[in-house]
């Protein structure tokens, strides 16, 4: 595995990324979308995880617009991020990846966690993405942290098939929320899958949830891989 760290130009800004890729040919690239915990060891761990499965993992740090200190959480920074900024950041990452020799041209997906799950949903309206995986995005069915309306308002504009994953014990995302997500996507005739794990809570995929959610973590990772395999077959 080869790792890279650097920045991708977005307008006049420089958005940090962390990238991990196999030594040989990659199947596709997956843009990894951070949650409120920020650009931490966990987002790098899951980026390495997708690289281990044969994908280019590329985590982007959209909190760069707020100049967070290393290790600082993203909750406050997210309040300054609307759909336009998030779409610009993911589009820049998609375009940059497509210029790289190590990415099979045009094969790009997203995978987000928490706030990043919301970002995966929001940016599924962009062209040029083949799959979007949203893990427990708490703002999908609610107002965005910056006050933008719920991303469900854009359900009709979604272009990318989605895999949405939730925990039944998540206090931030109710059954009513996931029900409305499903009915909005159904009403717009979109391709999606929802996987609900009744016994786990928010952020169950984090390494720190380890033994408590080991079965769900293993199953969710299998589903993500199968979903990506299907989308890039």
């Amino acid at each position: 595995m080869i790792t890279e760290q650097g920045t991708i130009p977005v307008g006049t800004g420089a958005m940090p990324y962390y990238l991990a890729r196999p030594n040989g040919a990659a199947k596709a690239a997956v843009i990894m979308l951070e949650g409120f915990s920020g650009f931490d060891a966990e987002i790098k761990r899951v980026t390495d995880l997708v690289a281990g499965a044969g994908y280019v993992g590329c985590a982007i740090d959209y909190y760069y617009r707020k100049n967070l200190a290393p290790g600082e959480r993203g909750d406050q920074a997210a309040k300054a991020l609307g759909k336009d900024e998030l779409c610009a950041d993911v589009a820049a990452a998609r375009d940059w990846l497509n210029t790289q020799d190590f990415v099979p041209f045009g094969k790009v997906a997203t995978w987000g966690f928490g706030f990043g799950g919301t970002v995966a949903f929001v940016t599924a309206t962009l062209p040029g993405l083949s799959a979007a995986v949203a893990f427990y995005g708490q703002s999908i069915a609610r107002t965005m942290p910056n006050g933008d309306p719920s991303p469900l308002a854009d359900a009709a504009s979604v272009r990318t098939p989605m895999l949405l994953v939730f925990g039944g014990q998540d206090r931030q995302i109710t059954q009513d929320d996931s029900g409305r997500i499903a009915s909005s996507l159904d009403a717009a005739h979109k391709k999606y899958e929802i996987q609900l794990y009744p016994n786990v809570g928010h952020s169950f995929f984090r390494e720190s949830s380890g033994t408590l959610a080991s079965r769900e973590i293993a199953d969710a990772w299998d589903r993500v891989q199968a979903f990506l395999e299907r989308r890039f077959a």
Binding site: M1, I2, T3, E4, Q5, G6, T7, I8, P9, G13, A14, P16, N23, G24, Y64, P70, T99, Q100, D101, F102
Partner: protein, 235 residues
């Protein structure tokens, strides 16, 4: 072919034909413009770039060409210690000006690629407006002082104007993971466009003598990564 830019000797390698091409200034390791540095220039020419390996020791050690031994390293270090940011920037700027005047060079499409000490030179000369991209392979003075005692290259990070591609081997004992992390943090804080590639199994100078090692997956990857970056920045 051997040329001179003023009093500075340089080795020039060109692709076939007279069509204007983007150009790369090759910045030697600490051992002088030796066969290895010429090999790099020839490699770039084979990929369609005009390559110019400059001898920035010309003021004090114009003939320096040392073997890869501990003794050679010390002689090279003394020569590098006789250079400064001022002489290095003057030499790289002179090389860029010379290239820009050649009909076989695409005006303004100039990058640098340096190795070891030359990697540090690539870093501190990325502040020059003529340099449109800089590639620095395992530059030891980016996060450590220069051989002449001047501060580490990172001191100049805010003034960098060219996008950077930096490559390191994680097994490099001169440049530790802490150094690399500090380089990344400083460039992010300065808002610069850069890419740091780390090869986990590689040591310092992993690209050297890579004629046959281009069969090594990491070396082959590094060469592809350089070409993609040059293509993205200077064409």
């Amino acid at each position: 072919m051997q040329i001179a830019i003023g009093t500075m000797p340089a080795y020039l390698a060109r692709p076939a034909g007279d069509a204007p091409r983007p150009a790369v200034i090759v910045l030697q390791e600490i051992f002088g413009v030796n066969a290895e540095v010429k090999r790099i220039a020839d490699l770039l020419a084979s990929a369609g770039y005009v390559a110019l390996a400059i001898n920035y020791y010309h003021r004090t050690h114009p003939e320096l060409n040392e073997p890869y031994t501990q003794e050679g390293l010390q002689t090279g270090f003394a020569a590098a210690g006789a250079t400064s940011r001022e002489t290095l920037r003057a030499d790289v700027a002179a090389a860029a000006t010379w290239l820009d005047e050649q009909a076989f060079v695409q005006t303004g499409h100039i990058a640098t690629w340096g190795f070891c000490f030359g990697g540090s030179v690539a870093f501190v000369t990325a502040t020059l407006p003529q340099i449109k991209a800089a590639v620095a392979f395992y530059g030891g003075s980016i996060a450590s002082p220069f051989p002449n005692g001047e501060p580490e290259g990172l001191a100049d990070a805010p003034a960098i104007v060219a996008p950077l591609l930096l490559a390191f081997g994680a097994k490099d004992t001169y440049i530790t993971p802490e150094h690399v992390a500090r380089i990344e943090a400083a460039l992010v804080a300065a808002g610069k466009i850069f890419h740091v590639v780390v090869y986990p199994e590689k040591d310092h100078a992993f690209f050297r003598d890579s004629q046959e090692a281009l069969g090594d997956p990491d070396v082959a990857d590094a060469w592809k990564r350089v070409r993609a970056f040059l293509h993205e920045t200077i064409g």
